[in-house]
């Protein structure tokens, strides 16, 4: 029975073997064996097999696992792990306090923080807080008194500005 497969493709020309090779294939092979060799081969193999007990699953698996290609990387990994464990200094742990969610919310909406921020803007305000009762007519954020309505009207007349500007102001 010819088991050759005809594999299609551009490399099919590799199958063009010389004529003498094709012719030789049809001849009997040059190799021969002693008379009755194959009849006794099975018995001889069976004798050897009977001397060696069939290996269990572990018997098959352990020699495979015990090959250097398996145990060398495993051993080196273990050695490196042990060295890292003993040689590398232990890290000091620092605890960062974390405010819980409710505390953070309360901090965000506490109106006293806003008041403090405004008061901290100028020394004059601080002094006012410390020295006497607060009088907002005397205090302004720019450090100067606000102009009165009369002063603004006089300023507009003086500079002949349009009346719309007054309304805008």
């Amino acid at each position: 029975m010819n088991l050759r497969n005809n594999i299609p493709g551009p490399t099919d020309d590799t199958e063009n073997i010389p004529v003498f090779l094709e012719a030789l294939k049809k001849e009997a092979p040059g190799f021969k064996v002693p008379v009755g060799y194959f009849d006794t081969l099975g018995e001889r193999i069976s004798d050897q097999v009977n001397q060696v007990p069939r290996r269990s699953f572990l018997g098959v698996a352990i020699p495979r696992v015990w090959k250097p290609v398996v145990w060398v990387p495993v051993l080196s990994t273990v050695v490196v792990a042990v060295l890292l464990l003993f040689v590398v200094p232990e890290r000091k742990t620092t605890v960062i306090p974390v405010a819980d969610e409710w505390t953070q919310l309360n901090m965000a909406y506490d109106p006293s923080y806003a008041t403090e921020a405004v008061f901290a803007e100028s020394h004059e305000i601080d002094a006012a807080i410390e020295g006497k009762e607060l009088n907002f007519s005397e205090v302004s954020l720019s450090g100067q008194n606000e102009p009165t309505a009369e002063e603004i009207s006089a300023f507009i007349k003086e500079h002949e500005m349009e009346s719309e500007l007054l309304n805008e102001y």
């Binding site: 490399t11 590799t14 001849e27 040059g30 190799f31 021969k32 064996v33 193999i45 097999v49 069939r54």
Partner: protein
């Protein structure tokens, strides 16, 4: 004696009471194919006999762990390839000590072999095969003598089909040159 399929033989082998019987059937089924494959690689009959026995002992020891994702025949061939190459490697180491190339030793063994009765052209062909690199030798023997498909060879040798085709092509060219040169 009934002819069992490979799957039936493996199932029978897994039954502890019938494992020896199954193994004997398996040896009977594949002994000639395996023997001649090994013989073409190692040339000498006695060497081939040793290698074949080692192959079947390995089969006995490992058949329990055989996974049926490949064919039994392919698996057997792979063991045969590995054992043959191991044997040739050890022979090569011995040849360093005797200061003779392993190829020269094998050609001498072919001439002295009482179990080779090929014609002159067959002897020349065998010598040309011996001179090939081991991979090409394997590919040529599998394709030319055993008529394996490239897919089967690819599974056995874990090499791509393209690479096998190229190996076979070069092997044929070298053999042609070697045989016609003589």
């Amino acid at each position: 004696m009934p002819e069992y399929t490979d799957i039936e033989l493996i199932e029978m082998y897994r039954d502890a009471n019938r494992s020896h019987y199954a193994f004997n059937l398996l040896v009977k089924k594949y002994r000639e194919k395996i023997y001649f494959f090994v013989r073409r690689m190692v040339i000498d009959h006695d060497d081939a006999d040793d290698v074949v026995q080692n192959i079947f002992i390995k089969v006995w020891n490992n058949l329990g762990s055989f996974r049926e994702d490949s064919k039994l025949f392919t698996w057997l061939y792979r063991i045969a390839v590995n054992e043959s190459l191991s044997f040739l490697k050890s022979k090569q180491l011995r040849s360093y000590l005797s200061l003779t190339s392993p190829e020269a030793m094998m050609i001498k063994s072919l001439h002295d072999d009482n179990y080779f009765d090929g014609t002159e052209i067959q002897r020349r062909l065998t010598e040309a095969i011996i001179k090939l690199p081991k991979k090409q030798q394997l590919v040529f023997n599998m394709r030319y003598y055993d008529e394996l498909s490239y897919e089967e060879m690819s599974e056995i040798l874990t090499t791509s089909v393209g690479a096998l085709k190229a190996s076979y092509h070069f092997a044929v060219k070298k053999i042609e040159e070697s045989v016609t040169a003589n």
